[in-house]
């Protein structure tokens, strides 16, 4: 008797797809679409574009499924495809120019603490965006997706140590940004909020 598709492992579903059962691929989509959308949003920041990445990644995965040998997990393989798609999308976005008149320059009327929080969040997110793609990828996969370095190295198609080094370099760069910005420390001390925990450590490290 055939087991429920939901209870099958990714590899079992893939075997069924390879034998021509398209509904098994549907189960893979259901299982991974949410995680993939979250990953896409970390790179393109726009739901429509992130959705395009998800769609493209699944279509490519379906087309190339015969080449999937199961050396890494299906999730790692799928994330690798999605990241390549996201990178291409970012390149395309960079080519597009932004009309200054379309840029929203208004400042939201919120309390000071909220403003500081927003300012630091914006700065941090902008700095993450500035990181080289591989460093950003390692950081995103480790911090937000909670993946192991083994999984990250599979997704990034690189040695374990390289994945770890990319992650470390990303963190060092971000730390340097905050070390260079004295105003951020002052804000944080004044408002007693967001980055309180970092200040003593920064001072201790000199």
């Amino acid at each position: 008797m055939t087991r429920d598709l939901e209870k099958m492992t990714d590899l079992e579903l893939i075997e069924r797809v390879k034998l021509g059962d398209k509904s098994s691929f549907s189960s893979l989509v259901i299982r991974h679409q949410r995680g993939l959308l979250r990953l896409g949003l970390r790179f393109v920041k726009d739901l429509d574009q992130a959705e395009d990445i998800v769609q493209e990644a699944f279509i490519k995965a379906y087309e190339k499924l015969s080449t999937f040998e199961g050396r890494s997990s299906f999730k790692s393989w799928l994330y690798q495809i999605a990241l390549n798609t996201a990178r291409n999308r970012l390149r395309e976005n960079r080519r597009e120019t932004v009309d200054v008149e379309d840029t929203n320059l208004s400042v939201p009327a919120v309390g000071e603490t909220m403003l500081v929080h927003t300012a630091i969040t914006d700065l941090l997110n902008k700095e993450v965006e500035k990181l080289p793609f591989r460093q950003r990828t390692a950081l995103v996969l480790r911090v937000y997706e909670d993946l192991s370095f083994q999984e990250i190295s599979e997704i990034m198609a690189c040695p374990y140590d390289t994945a770890k080094a990319n992650y470390r370099h990303a963190l060092i760069k971000l730390k340097e940004v905050f070390e260079d910005r004295e105003d951020l420390k002052t804000w944080t001390l004044e408002t007693g909020g967001f980055f309180m925990e970092l200040t003593p450590l920064m001072e201790a490290e000199g």
């Binding site: 398209k22 989509v29 679409q33 997110n125 490290e205």
Partner: protein, 66 residues
Amino acid sequence: MRPQARTDIKTMLKNADEVEVPMDPGYYHRLHDKIMMKIEDQSVEEKSIIVPMKRLKLQRELMKKY
């Protein structure tokens, strides 16, 4: 000291996380359907490419014969 500092930057990043995926299950139903529909379309497209190619090959063979 360093590993602790790194953990804190990790916390900072998590605090600054602004990514929110849609919560509505209907959204994922629609996304799933779009993906599966595109896969179906692609399969049809592949078939429609294969059929004319086969027809062309057959025509060429017939031309050679007669």
